[in-house]
Amino acid sequence: MSTYAQKRGFGAVLWDYLTTVDHKKIAILYLIAGGFFFLVGGLEAMFIRIQLIRPDNNFVSAGAFNEIITMHGTTMIFLAAMPLLFAFMNAVVPLQIGARDVAFPFVNALGFWLFFFGGLFLNLSWFLDNAPDAGWTSYASLATHSKGHGIDFYVLGLQISGFGTLMAGINFLVTIINMRAPGMTYMRMPLFTWSTFVASALILFAFPPLTVGLTLMMFDRMFGANFFDVANGGNTVIWEHLFWIFGHPEVYILVLPAFGIFSEIFSIFSRKRLFGYSSMVFATVLIGFLGFMVWAHHMFTTGLGPVANAIFAVATMAIAVPTGIKIFNWLFTMWGGSIKFTTPMYWAVAFIPSFVMGGVTGIMLASAAQDYQYHDTYFVVAHFHYVIVGGVVFALIAGTHLWWPKMFGTMLNETMGKITFWLFFIGFHLTFFIQHFLGLMGMPRRIFTFLPNQGLETGNLVSSIGAFFMAAGVIVMLYNIVATQVRNERIGNDPWEDGRTLEWSISSPAPFYNFKQLPLVRGLDALWLEKMEGKKGMMPAEPLGDIHMPNSSFVPVVMSFGFFVAAFGALYRPDGYAWALPVLIIGLLISFGAMIFRSVKDDHGFHIHKEDLIDKNDKGVEA
């Protein structure tokens, strides 16, 4: 497909991607957009670290600093980490379960475009007004107090992209439940698929509280409601609850798929099946479930009372148990294995100590009585960067190297991959380890500068130097990507040679219908089983037949664009601009018009005929 695409003009390719409903292309869209936002968020992180490199620095102003940290957190979580995970879910999950596509290809595209326009809207705040400045948590009293439109951008942008995320979640759930290939029972699903499943369930239940919270905030700020207005009977703690009922599951939405990626890598590069597969599945589900019972550990100092604090403290600690099960299962997957140190494996291996460091500080935070000291200090910043960067970002980079060949048909350079690794890994520990101590020594988080002679100079300097190492690592990786694509050496089905799951049984990149014939799955690590029996690929589960494919559609872009337009109207309406209300209405009309167009126009898709499939076979396309 992509060789074919390259022969066409830029316009045609662009149109192809704007209208695509193919999960593999949507994956690439997510990868590009998420990667872009990761660079933006990383740049913001660099600004933070430059500002804090020495006391009394004035690289950025106080107000701008608050905008930068808010946008850094928001961008990284909502617009970088999650979409990048969606990129791999889209690229890999349908292949891993032996499906021709996701359950709702159209909705898949819609989800992406909603995320994209929501993210765009949020980031336009930099240019149109001021950016949100109340932290990524946007606590009510400060957020309702905040002047300008920053918070409005936050509320509307996240609302739009949140709908996209919710759709993606439902889509993956249905795909995994309904579209598995013959023989692919639940307990034969690869762990990345399992973790996608659980993370999607978390999305399904965690995003509605965020939707409600954002709606209430929007009503308060734009329509005069009183949810958080204490003078009129409102209560700001409601926001804290709603945000964290979403926010805590959110961190597991991020880390579970990361765990899934590492599970694949450990198994592939140790040439061993995952140790304790069923307890891994069980632990994943349990983490997901417990994730909903612990949100108030972010609110220990809010004053919920000792009973609530104690309950939530103990509940939070319980999560260490299933997580520990996973850590030890990974270690024992490698134990007795035949470990090959490729770039993905470097990241996976480095993940273990890094994440455990972050996890155990999480348990310290969970101990309510000590959290009174840690809360809102750099100790917390250190904790969550250890788990997020050491867990999620490591996984994203590892996944990029692991699945790049499957997505693009060419392999990233291993040497440069390892250079990236060392720079980033060293920088990471340099930046964040010392922050534990900064926090304990009395440095609150979210301060735009610190005063000299409070013992905080050295730590901050070290931390900032580390950030430059990370940036260097990222730049090497960018170079690697560009150089690899330019070289474009084609590779075969199973470039790592030790692939175990179905995605490695078809060409790289996969043909647009994925599987000519659905494969017959005979056990866990289906491809590995066949390989061990000396076969080259999977046995088909069905005779060659016509394949039903969905039509491309431009409607998702239009529909998302409508909401994007409407959001501007909603945002500027309270200022009394005459054009605001019409813009709001026009935007909504575009969206609902597109919706009605979609539902009135029948879309039956098309068929690839058997003959054409045989044709391709004969020409020996790919592999």
Partner: protein, 209 residues
């Protein structure tokens, strides 16, 4: 089965909404969506319960003073009955009786409209009689958000069912539109489920005090 197939009374499957892969997917996806909606409404209920009767001063009316039992009762009856009529519609859908299905869907829409009319009257009444508005107090904001959100679901459900009816009026039943009708009716039931909690938690409990 393929969606394009022309079917007859004899070949119409037992579960037309799930006869195709698309139908199965839609069916499941929609149920999952309802699972999410449950959390959404629960969050709104929680907010309402936290802010119930929270008003800035005692010139504002409280729940016990404004709610009206007969009005709520009539509204409840309308919505409950519309739930039954949409069951009838699905019964006929399964029996490939297109016209009867359309008839009962029509009745459902009419009942839904009646409910909506009552709700509009009710809100209007609160605003003018008691000065109980969306912006008058936290209680007001929470009340109108919860009940209004449900009302918005009713509106959406009505538009959905009506669009389906118009679009398919001339085409009859097929495996392509059967899942759509089925989902719309599921949605309509779900609206009723939510209403059961609204009349209990908001109105009845509000009147008890």
């Amino acid at each position: 089965m393929q969606t394009e197939e022309k079917l007859t009374f004899e070949t119409w499957p037992a579960l037309p909404e799930k006869a195709t892969l698309e139908g199965k997917n839609k069916f499941l996806g929609f149920w999952l969506f309802l699972g999410g909606e449950t959390v959404l409404f629960a969050s709104l209920f929680a907010t309402y319960l936290a802010l119930k009767d929270k008003v800035p001063d005692d010139t504002h009316h409280l729940a016990a003073e404004i709610f009206d039992l007969p009005l709520t009762f009539v509204a409840t009856m309308l919505l409950l009955t519309s739930s039954l009529t949409s069951v009838y519609a699905m019964y006929h859908m399964k029996n490939f009786a297109f016209n009867k299905m359309m008839l009962w869907l029509g009745v459902t829409v009419a009942l839904g409209l009646g409910f909506l009319g009552l709700e509009i009257y009710e809100f209007n009444h609160y605003v003018h009689e008691y000065g109980h508005t969306f912006t008058s107090s936290a209680f007001g904001s929470a009340f109108y958000s919860l009940v209004g959100f449900h009302g918005a679901h009713v509106v959406f459900g009505l538009v959905w069912i009506t669009t389906l009816m118009i679009r398919n009026a001339k085409r009859g039943l097929s495996l392509y539109n059967a899942p759509k009708f089925y989902l719309a009716s599921l949605y309509w039931h779900f609206i009723d489920v939510v209403w059961v909690f609204i009349f209990t938690v908001v109105y009845l409990m509000g009147m008890v005090g």
